[in-house]
Symmetry: C2
Subunit: 136 residues, 2 copies
DNA sequence: AATAAATACTATCAAATTGATAGGATATAT
DNA sequence: ATATATCCTATCAATTTGATAGTATTTATT
């Protein structure tokens, strides 16, 4: 399962992509209201996305958030990795968050292969999806 | 990520499938030693698998565990669902642990479709794998 | 300069989950 | 009887999850 936080992040980005018309930035409170996301929690998430160079923010009146890149250049995997960390089901098959398992030698691990396959099939789907493709 | 508990469960079952020769049941302590799994933690896991009718146990001297069914009839998905619960990435696309999301109407959810695809690709891999196929 | 309105930041928190450990009860083969 | 295995209950520390509260800072407008 992905976390609520990650689900909120994706939905917020899709909302921003949809309503960022160039003139006005998208406000936290609008996203929170429209997408039923707790506002203060959403603040943390959006700040997190800004710190990871997905969003830019503008403070003060008429402030809000904008995508830092075109929506078609933001993949779902990138967001999921920022918010939740590894996508793989085992640390030892993670491409971006690799860790070896303490208890086993990888060469002789019986289950590593299966979870590599799961990882590859999963990434085939997720790598193809962008914030843009979700707004359509 | 699957939990350590789930990883241990799968490895233990593969070990049991490999060393259950019909005459002697497989002991917790042997599995724990050979697979580097904390023994007391493994006890809980094996009891859990027994309560879910994956294993049968024999107490006392020469006791231990055996598969209740042939290894080729125990799928990876079944074990993962027993130990970790849902396999899907969103509650609203889970086949066995469905829950609706509080914050959105499913009909208009922008992200549900993607995670249905991930679920299907994941299950394509996992449904085909059994404890037997992992011992080979 | 004052004000309203937005994000930024820090701190905190409760509940659930994870990953175990400890110790005694019970069953069984010898 | 005894040794040895599972069974059961309780407990625990650390981490993660999902948030909330309150204040500081920035900015547009009047």
């Amino acid at each position: 399962m992905i976390s609520n936080k990650c689900k909120y992040a994706i939905k917020a980005l899709v909302y921003i992509a949809k309503y960022d018309n160039g003139s006005k930035a998208v406000m936290t409170s609008d996203i929170a209201r429209e997408q039923n996301i707790p506002r203060k929690f959403l603040e943390i998430i959006l700040r997190d996305l800004r710190n990871n160079r997905i969003l830019e923010s503008k403070r003060g009146k008429d402030g809000g958030f904008r995508l830092l890149r075109p929506a078609e250049d933001i993949s779902l995997t990138e967001i999921m990795r920022i918010i939740d960390g590894p996508i793989a089901m085992l640390p030892c098959v993670s491409l971006n968050y690799y860790r070896s398992c303490d208890e086993c030698e990888e060469e002789s691990c019986e289950i590593k292969g299966v979870f590599e396959q799961v990882r590859d099939r999963t990434l085939e789907v997720l790598n193809g999806k962008t914030i843009k493709s979700l707004t359509l």
